[in-house]
Every structure is written in structure tokens, then in C-alpha cells.
């Protein structure tokens, strides 16, 4: 039974002068600041901390280092809380996870008895025949699946991230890490030291108990690191993974810091590995380093009487440390010779502690805690003593390198038969290992290895290539057992604590053909639990290697993927950045009660509210444009200046129609297709001078069109400049019969037909502002588009609204524009067109000038001309007909013959109109379109050529040409 020792330990993390109160399963306990949830519970004698995922076996502390997930808890507003490392807070109300009816009386604990009926992969082998049985079984499994519970009322939390920069990033603040940091800082480099613990020191803080010079070195290192101006320390900070080009995201208590460094020292130390014997998962069985962490960090005695399983020198040092602290060591079972003749071993013998050579643990007795162990010879034969009563088992049989970051950086590991541990065999020049994970175990070895690592790293950072793969300071004795596994006829000897996988499960999986490391993992799920195999990967490879009769390296290893420790979505998300683009007239629209809609990053006016229903407000806006005067903010349009000697050549190559012959002072509709002839963008091209054009593009494709133009300039070696003025300029379109009369009162240039003909472009002034006037419109009325710098758009809008007030000027939005443009039969790229639509499908052969020798998409269009399989046609419906929706299908002889792309009730025409992309045969026959609307009802639409309204375009003398090819110059 664990308990808090009375005497404080030097360097312990807890503040014994203050008390905290917390509750676990309704019982209240006290703890000290600095305690974690697990240490606080152990201090109160509670060693049963959780239930395992599959068999619901009782579980307790194993590593106190977040290498296992036995101790998981939940509170009201969090779940899957890792007890070993999460500080306990005053007033915390903790509950176990995945235990129905409390930890001790967990209703699923009986599952452990049925283990024999749930061998590895059992769920693949049952409950699928007959099929009707599966839902029942799936419900049963899903109810027991998962650990903690989520609460859907939790609000979203986001914790801001930031960027960090340094020359060298050192991962791990143990002896090697701190030595490396000081060595690098001494060379004038900016260094960051990250360590997942709240206090630096790593193993130096708990593993060298009585060693005087270890404690002295620790104090000196801490002092020097703290004092150094060029060292930034990040404690309680986990380096989540290594990403390309030294990109290292660190999860700190204050959010994620994404560090870019020029070099990395991986000094993350070791993961102590469990041994495999029956009931090796009972609360009270723990790793020796776990016991040392409890003792030196939290002043907790792991148990009163312990049996130690030893295969390395660390075992004897720890046994002596714990003995001196008051734990009675009942004996040491030596399943690996290394260290059994060390000074510590002899001191223990002198103190009467029996050492049992060639002996290992056969079984642990007790259920919710340890009552004793049975021993057995390592050869399976008899052992010096059969059973020992004790309340704690401490395992020290081997290590694995925490080399995940090195692996992700391209490094590789190999098994070292001397050390009985994997060590780095190769690594990139600027991501180097140091310390125990590189096989340097003694203090001197760690100090020297760290200095050597930094020396090689800084040389490589300065460009000296051809580093030597260094293993100069690796230890020469074993630090683990080759086969820390003990068979037992009744099993329960766990290789993976997360997934409840026993030795026989892995052997069975291999026997069933899943006999390589990746298939073994996927079939048995070894290493796929929340701790991601930190305690199971190495032993699983040992089991597979022995089963296949191969070496460890030949058996291979699975890939170490980020994250090193799990990280919350709230930390990954960070602050919410949603760039939002506003027109220069945004405030004015708000004052007019505008309803906005999102168009990519832009906010656009859908319609102006007023008191009426949206449909009615929109219809009013349509009427205003047709009968009097409307003004729409089109500032979201792409606006691009193209100028220089080769300006015309660039446009000839980029658009499907001629542009070189466009006269200065005139504009032309421009269409852009991609290399396969599919429509990408359209807009207006205005020629301001021989070598100066001004283009507009749709707001959705403006950026892509700008990029394309700049790329073609380079690709075709042209002397031309392309400048993007999309956000720099605003634009409004004044449309309606009254437009000319109102505009004349504001501009300093004549607007009559001869001076400013249809499709013309003029530079003029409105008040002080220099503007560009284009006689273009999308809505089929007499219209003028006014482009000006964003800074003056407000005054222009105000003067237009004032000058137009008697004429009944009314601002209109996108919804009204959609109806107005549909009445003229104009297409919207992306709605009437899709990923395969060419100009021939939309009835725009006039826009494709194949006599041009070259333009983007020409080869494809030349091939496709006349072969189009679908065509866009206009249709109309009786006034009282139910309105089809966009994308309702056109059906012919029971087959799909097309779809409706645009449809709307036209206030002016008094009946619905629309466009549909239909099979060519149907298009050419001109038959009515049978449209399947909601609930499968059919409506019949008669064909109507576009434009539906003012076909001859008399009302505008402006706007886009209709069907005739050369209607514009």
C-alpha cells in the first residue's frame, strides 16, 4: 500500500506547507500543490486508479511518466485526463473512465473471466452470420468502446499559437539535454530547451538517489541554464513531432509554439520497458523509474515490501535508494546478469537482501493490489524460492529510446546486442541524438556525448558535410534483458496494457499469418492504443522475432508517427483567422439595411432589406432597374491593369477571342478557358491606350486569372506589366433608362451616343475624383460602370444616390442581378457551367476565334468544335406552373437528358424563365423540356430563345452581343 513518507525528499516537487482538497468517486482527499492526480491518490493509499480497455482489469501506476494510460480520469468539463502528469487542483471532482458503477464495483469487470472466449481478432470471427445478428453485437461493442465521455454542451475553446525561432532546438532537459544547451549557447547560438516535465533535470532528478556528484552536477546545470541569456527554457512542454525542414511544434502550457530551428539535438532520454509475466498489470507492479519518480518527486513510498526484477545496473541502484528510504526489499530476481556484481549489488547483499540468480517472476498474486509473487527459473526450471509475500513488484529489465523525432527526421534505429536496446544507427546531419537514447548511460558518458553531438551539429550547420555517425560514448554493458518474457499456462501475461494483449495473442496472430510487424500491429492492434506502443512495441517485436526465428532488426519496426503525446484540437486549432473582404461601400450598405451573403472571402449585398419579404424586395429592385434606375456595388469584381509593349500579345494569347484589334476607348466581352477548353472565367476587356488595357474578372476567379496572366507573361517571354487592383479600386454599375441623364449631371465628359458609344470606355472626373466609365452592364439596360480608387467610392456613391433621387434610384443586390442577367440570358460561370463546359456547350461559338494561331485552350477547342454533346438552352413556364429548382433533371424517355442550371420567376415577363444544359439531340429538336421537380412531379417547359427580354437589345445600345458573331467590331 503506497503512502506519503514523512521526511521530505531533497528536490521534491510538492509544497508540503499548503493543502489542496479534491474528490475521487465521491470520497474527499487532501494533497499538496505540485502533486499530480496519481501521486495525490497514492499518497492517500488509493492504488486502484483505472480499469483496462478490453477486460476491465484493475490498473494502477506503472511509469508516472505518461508512457502508459492506466490512470485516466474525467471531470465535469474534461475527459481522458492523464493522472500521472496532470496537476491536481483544489476542488477537483474526479471520476474514473470506462467503469460503470464505480472503479471497485465496475459492472464489466466480469469480462476478465471470459477472456478465453475473446482471443486476438475474435471480433473478426463472430457475429457476422446471420447478418441480422451483427447490429446487436455492434451495439454491445460500441457501448463498451472508448474510454472517457464527451459532453456536447462543452463550448469551443481555442488557445492562440505562435511562432518561435532559434539556431538549435534541444529536446529533453535531462543531463545530456542541459549539457548540449550550454555547449551550444557557449558558441553564441540562440537555443531553446524543451522538456515535458514541469522541472528540468530528467533522470538526474530521480535516478541517482544517493549519488553526491550527480546531485551537485544537477544543481550546477540548473543554475547555469537558468542564468544564460541565450537559452529559452520551455517546461511542461512536449515537442509533438519533427516535421520537414526542422519544423517543431511544441505544446506548452500557454498554447503551441511552432519553432523553426537550424539544428536539433534529440536528448529525449529513454522509455523504461515492462517485463511480461502473469498478472504483470496489477496495481502495485510498476517500473523501477516509476517508483523513483514517486519517491523523489512526490515523496511517496510505492509500497512497504518489494520484490525487484533486475536485468541491468539501474535495478540495484534503485533497490538501494528505495531501501534507504524505508522500503523493505524482500529480494532481487536476476533475469539478466548485468549489474549483479556492482557495488550497489554488494551493498544490498551486505544489508541482507537476497539475490536470486537466473530467476524471474512467474506470477503476481492479488487482484486490486499485490499480495505476493511466485518465482521461476529463467530456463523455466525451479527457482531458489517459490513464493514471496510483498505489496510491490519493481521491474528494471530494459529501455527503449524515445527517438520518435529522430525517426521522423529520417533517422533509423538498430538493435544493439551489447546494450540489449535499440540505438540510433543513422540520422540527418542537423538532427542529432545525445545522451541515454544514444546509448550513453553514465554521467560522464552523457556529458561527453552531449558535447560531441553539439560539436558535430554546429559543424554541419556551418556547412561542413560528412559527419561521422558517432557512438563514441556508448556504454559497454547490457541495460536490459534479451527476453524479459515469462510464459504461463494460464496466460494473463500482458505485452500491451492499453489494448489488453497477452503473449499468446501476439503468437496466435503470427500463427494465423499476420507474421510481419505491420500486419501483426493491425490485426492484434498492438501499439494502437492511446500510448501508441511506448511500452509494447519493443516487446511485440521481440515476440515476433522469436516466433519467426529472426533477429530484431530483420523483424523491423513500425513507423513512429506524430504526435509524441496526444494534443487537444483546441491547441491545434489556435486563434480563429477568417479573412473577410469588405467593399469600400460596406458601411453605406449596412445603413441601407442590406442583407449580406458570403461570396468567397467577400461579403456582398444579397438584397436591401426594407420591411418586405425578400422575394418582394428583390422583385422591387428588378422593377426599379427595368423602369427607372438601379445601382449595384460590383467592387468585388477582379480589376487588373495590363500595360507595356506586349500588352495586346498577352491578351491575344489569354482570351479565346481577338483582342489585338480592339480600338482604344472601347471594351469587349472576354472569355478565358483552361487547356482542355473548359470555361474558367469571363469579364470585360477595356483598352485605354495602344499599350494599356484594364480588365475585369469574376470575383470568384480574379486571383486565379491574375496569376495566369503573370505566368503567361513569363512563359511567353513578353515585355508587359500586370498589376492587380481588385481591392485597390471600387466599382458600381448604374443601370436603367435614367442612368445617362443622372450621370450627365455629375461627370465632366459628354455622354451622348457619338461621344460615348455603346461598349465605350472613358476616363472622366466626378467632382474631384478621377474615374473610369465603361458602358457595359450585365442586366441589359442602358448602363454605366464607374471604376475609381477605393478612397473615393463613398463620395461617388453619395453623389449618385443624391443625383438619382428624383429618378427613383434604388440600390440593388446580387439576387436581383441574378434575375436581371437571366432575363438577358447571360451565363454565370460555375452555375450554368461545370467542370466540363466549353464555350460550344453554352452556345457561344462566336466567342472562339479559331483563326487566331494561338491562345490558351485553342488546340482543345479546335478539336472540340462541333463535337459538343450538350447545349445550354432557354426555356419558359406558364405563370402558374410550380417553379422547378436549379439542378432539377430534364428527363426524356425515362432517361436523364440534362439539368436546369438557372431558373427564376421574371417580374418583367410575368412568368418563370430558365436555362438548362441538355443533350444536343434534344436541344436541336427544340421539343419542350420535361423537368422532374420535387416529389418526382413532372412539369413541361416550352423552349424560348435567349435573351428572353429585349432580344434586339434596343434598351441598352450597350451590354453583351447576343447571337451574332461580329456585333462588336
Amino acid at each position: 500500500m503506497p503512502f506519503r513518507c514523512y521526511e521530505p525528499r531533497p528536490g521534491e516537487w510538492i509544497d508540503r506547507s499548503r493543502k489542496l482538497r479534491f474528490q475521487f468517486e465521491g470520497h474527499s482527499y487532501t494533497a499538496h500543490p505540485g502533486d499530480t492526480i496519481s501521486s495525490a491518490l497514492l499518497a492517500n493509499g488509493v492504488s486502484l486508479l483505472g480499469r483496462s480497455f478490453k477486460y476491465h482489469r484493475p490498473r494502477g501506476v506503472v511509469s508516472m511518466a505518461n508512457h502508459d494510460v492506466n490512470a485516466l480520469f474525467e471531470t465535469g468539463d474534461d475527459t481522458n485526463i492523464r493522472g500521472d502528469i496532470t496537476p491536481v487542483q483544489d476542488g477537483m471532482e474526479l471520476h474514473p473512465v470506462n467503469a460503470r458503477g464505480g472503479l471497485r464495483k465496475d459492472r464489466d469487470r466480469y469480462l476478465d473471466w471470459f477472456g478465453r472466449f475473446m482471443p486476438v481478432g475474435f471480433y473478426y470471427k463472430a457475429f457476422h452470420r446471420p447478418r441480422s445478428l451483427f447490429p446487436f453485437f455492434e451495439r454491445m461493442i460500441r457501448e463498451r468502446a472508448g474510454l472517457g465521455r464527451v459532453n456536447m454542451q462543452w463550448s469551443a475553446r481555442r488557445r492562440p499559437k505562435r511562432y518561435g525561432h532559434c539556431d538549435v532546438m534541444v529536446v529533453g532537459g535531462g543531463p545530456a539535454g542541459m549539457s548540449a544547451v550550454l555547449e551550444a549557447a557557449a558558441q553564441g547560438l540562440e537555443v531553446i530547451l524543451a522538456d515535458e516535465n514541469p522541472v528540468l533535470g530528467g533522470s538526474l532528478g530521480y535516478q541517482w538517489g544517493g549519488d553526491a556528484d550527480a546531485r551537485q552536477w544537477l544543481g550546477q546545470l540548473l543554475e547555469e541554464v537558468d542564468a544564460h541569456p541565450r537559452i529559452t527554457v520551455m517546461t511542461s512542454s512536449v515537442v509533438l513531432g519533427y516535421y520537414e525542414d526542422h519544423w517543431l511544434p511544441v505544446a506548452t502550457p500557454d498554447g503551441i509554439v511552432k519553432v523553426r530551428s537550424r539544428g536539433v539535438v534529440v536528448a529525449a532520454g529513454l522509455l523504461e520497458q515492462p517485463a511480461v509475466f502473469r498478472n504483470n498489470d496489477r496495481p502495485g507492479v510498476m517500473l523501477v523509474s516509476g517508483a523513483q519518480r514517486l519517491l523523489e518527486r512526490f515523496g511517496i513510498m510505492p509500497c512497504r515490501e518489494a520484490v525487484v526484477l533486475a536485468a541491468n545496473p539501474e535495478a540495484y541502484a534503485a533497490a538501494r535508494q528505495l531501501q534507504e528510504a524505508g522500503v523493505r526489499i524482500r529480494g532481487i530476481a536476476i533475469c539478466g546478469e548485468s549489474g549483479s556484481d556492482s557495488e550497489h549489488a554488494r551493498a544490498l547483499t551486505r544489508a541482507g537482501v537476497p539475490l536470486w540468480p537466473a530467476t524471474t517472476i512467474h506470477e503476481v498474486h492479488g487482484r486490486n493490489s499485490v499480495s505476493g509473487v511466485s518465482l521461476i527459473g529463467t530456463d523455466g526450471g525451479s527457482s531458489p524460492v517459490d513464493r514471496i509475500d510483498c505489496d510491490g513488484v519493481l521491474v528494471s529489465t530494459g529501455w527503449a529510446p524515445a527517438a520518435h523525432l529522430l525517426y521522423q527526421a529520417g533517422g533509423r534505429l538498430r538493435y544493439d546486442d551489447t546494450l540489449e536496446m535499440q540505438v540510433p544507427s543513422e540520422w540527418p546531419e542537423t538532427v542529432v541524438p545525445a545522451g541515454r537514447l544514444n546509448g550513453a548511460f553514465t554521467l560522464q558518458q552523457q556529458r561527453d556525448d552531449a558535447r560531441e553531438a553539439v560539436r558535430c551539429l554546429t559543424a554541419a550547420m556551418e556547412g561542413e558535410t560528412g559527419y561521422r555517425a558517432r557512438s563514441l560514448f556508448r556504454d559497454s554493458v547490457a541495460h536490459g534483458a534479451a527476453w524479459p518474457v515469462s510464459r504461463h499456462p494460464r496466460g494473463r501475461n500482458f505485452v500491451d496494457l492499453d489494448e489488453d494483449l497477452q503473449l499468446k495473442d501476439l503468437e496466435q496472430a503470427a500463427r494465423e499469418g499476420f507474421d510481419n510487424v505491420e500486419l501483426l500491429k493491425r490485426y492484434s492492434t498492438v501499439g494502437m492504443g492511446p500510448s501508441q506502443g511506448k511500452h509494447s512495441n519493443v516487446n511485440a517485436i521481440r515476440v515476433l522475432a522469436r516466433y519467426m526465428g529472426q533477429g530484431m532488426d530483420a523483424t523491423g519496426t513500425t513507423t513512429a508517427r506524430p504526435m509524441y503525446h496526444p494534443v487537444r484540437l483546441e491547441d491545434l486549432a489556435g486563434r480563429r483567422f477568417r479573412p473577410r473582404r469588405l467593399s469600400p461601400l460596406h458601411d453605406r450598405h449596412q445603413q441601407l439595411g442590406a442583407e449580406f451573403m458570403e461570396a468567397g472571402e467577400w461579403l456582398r449585398v444579397a438584397h436591401y432589406g426594407g420591411t418586405r419579404e425578400p422575394e418582394a424586395a428583390i422583385a422591387d429592385e428588378v422593377q426599379a432597374v427595368r423602369n427607372a434606375l438601379g445601382v449595384i456595388d460590383v467592387s468585388t469584381l477582379g480589376k487588373i491593369e495590363v500595360f507595356g509593349p506586349d500588352a495586346a500579345r498577352l491578351l491575344e494569347g489569354s482570351y479565346t477571342m481577338r483582342m489585338g484589334n480592339l480600338r482604344s476607348g472601347m471594351t469587349r466581352y472576354g472569355l478565358i478557358v483552361d487547356e482542355s477548353g473548359v470555361i474558367e472565367d469571363d469579364g470585360v476587356v477595356a483598352r485605354l491606350a495602344e499599350d494599356h488595357f484594364y480588365l475585369s474578372a469574376t470575383s470568384g476567379h480574379a486571383a486565379a486569372t491574375y496569376r495566369m496572366l503573370r505566368r503567361h507573361a513569363l512563359e511567353w517571354g513578353l515585355d508587359v506589366h500586370v498589376v492587380n487592383r481588385t481591392g485597390q479600386m471600387g466599382a458600381v454599375n448604374l443601370a436603367g433608362p435614367e442612368s445617362r441623364r443622372v450621370l450627365e449631371s455629375l461627370v465632366d465628359t459628354p455622354l451622348h451616343e457619338e461621344a460615348f458609344p455603346n461598349l465605350g470606355v472613358r476616363e472622366a472626373r466626378i467632382g474631384e475624383a478621377r474615374v473610369r466609365l465603361l458602358r457595359v452592364g450585365f442586366v441589359g439596360e442602358l448602363a454605366y460602370e464607374i471604376h475609381a480608387p477605393a478612397s473615393v467610392m463613398g463620395t461617388i456613391w453619395d453623389s449618385l444616390m443624391a443625383a438619382g433621387s428624383e429618378s427613383g434610384i434604388r440600390p440593388f443586390g446580387v439576387e436581383a442581378q441574378r434575375i436581371l442577367r437571366l432575363e438577358k440570358g447571360h451565363i454565370i460561370v460555375g452555375q450554368d457551367t461545370d467542370g466540363l463546359t466549353t464555350p460550344f456547350n453554352t452556345g457561344m461559338p462566336w466567342s472562339v476565334h479559331l483563326k487566331k494561331p494561338f491562345f490558351r485552350g485553342r488546340p482543345a477547342l479546335a478539336h472540340l468544335k462541333g463535337r459538343e454533346s450538350q447545349q445550354l438552352v432557354g426555356f419558359a413556364l406558364p405563370a402558374d406552373s410550380p417553379l422547378p429548382r436549379e439542378c432539377h433533371l430534364v428527363i426524356e424517355d425515362g432517361e436523364i437528358a440534362g439539368r436546369v442550371t438557372s431558373v427564376a420567376a421574371s417580374p418583367i415577363l410575368g412568368h418563370p424563365i430558365g436555362l438548362a444544359m441538355v443533350d444536343r439531340a434534344l436541344a436541336e429538336r427544340g421539343d419542350p423540356l420535361q423537368i422532374r421537380i420535387d416529389e418526382g412531379r413532372m412539369v413541361s417547359a416550352w423552349r424560348m430563345t435567349t435573351p428572353f427580354y429585349d432580344p434586339e437589345g434596343r434598351r441598352q445600345f450597350a451590354g453583351y452581343p447576343d447571337s451574332s458573331e461580329e456585333s462588336h467590331q
Partner: protein, 159 residues
């Protein structure tokens, strides 16, 4: 640790592009930075060279390139300009841009991605000058609201 953000309205911005650009600047007595993505101070403003033959000029209000010396291609720019004053501007920027702002010296010019949008940054080099941040006018309100939010959070976190 305080950092203030103010709207900079006293600079008129123009973009000069094309072969005649550097000569036009010289005629108006404006400096021309030697290398691309470099800037030189001029009176209360600056001249930044944003391309091989492309300059962004921040000058006193009302200034436009001399009529006679007007190169054929000069465009008015309406960038939203914010002035950051206070030594913690690097920390604030570290939440918005991956560029190591600590390396920025006085007179340095940087064009990169900040808070998800493209922007330019000019270190004036004087305390009261502080740092100028400019972006497309349509994104001005967005960038200002993000800066205000970051400063408010940091103030609350560290005070």
C-alpha cells in the same frame, strides 16, 4: 509590454511600375532603393522597391508624381496602413506571421502572409515611427480587428 495600434492617414501611397519609374522618382527627389524588397525613408514616408521596375511610394498627403515627370504607369494605392508602436510588436507579430521579426532592423521591408492575408511591413527605425503594416483596403477592418484581439488577449494574459 504595451503596444498601440493607430490608423495611419497622413501618407498617400502610389505604385510606380515600368521602365520610367526610377527616373520619375529621381526627378521628384525621391530615393530609389538599390535592391528589390528594400525600402529607404523619405521625409515622413518611404520608398519601397517591390519589383525589378516597381516602387511603392509613401509620401505626404496630396503628393502625386510630378505631372511632367509622370511615367505612363502610376497608380494610386489605397492600402490600409496601421502603425504599431511599442517594443512588444515582435511578440504580437509572432502570433500572426512565421517570419522572425526579431531579425528585422530599422528600414527593413518585408512582404509576407500575416493572419492569413498578404501584407507588407516597414520598420521605420524610430520609436515614434514604430512599425508600419499595410494591406489591401478590403482587408483593413479584418487585419485591424485581429491585431486588436491579439493585443487584448496578451494584455489580459500578462497583466
Amino acid at each position: 509590454m504595451s503596444l498601440t495600434v493607430t490608423e495611419e492617414h497622413r501618407l498617400s501611397l502610389h505604385q510606380l511600375v515600368g521602365p520610367g519609374a526610377s527616373e520619375a522618382l529621381a526627378r521628384d527627389g525621391l530615393p530609389t532603393p538599390p535592391g528589390e524588397l528594400e525600402a529607404l525613408p523619405h521625409e515622413a514616408g518611404f520608398v519601397a522597391r517591390t519589383g525589378a521596375r516597381e516602387y511603392l511610394v509613401g509620401h505626404r498627403l496630396g503628393w502625386t508624381p510630378g505631372e511632367a515627370s509622370m511615367p505612363p504607369w502610376c497608380f494610386e494605392r489605397c492600402d490600409r496602413i496601421l502603425r504599431l508602436q511599442g517594443e512588444s510588436w515582435c511578440e504580437v507579430m509572432s502570433e500572426l506571421c512565421s517570419h522572425d521579426m526579431h531579425r528585422m532592423g530599422s528600414g527593413d521591408w518585408f512582404m509576407g502572409s500575416m493572419a492569413g492575408v498578404d501584407a507588407w511591413l516597414y520598420v521605420t527605425g524610430s520609436d515614434e515611427g514604430g512599425v508600419l503594416v499595410g494591406c489591401d483596403p478590403s482587408l483593413g477592418d479584418y487585419l485591424r480587428s485581429v491585431l486588436d484581439a491579439v493585443i487584448a488577449d496578451r494584455y489580459q494574459r500578462f497583466n
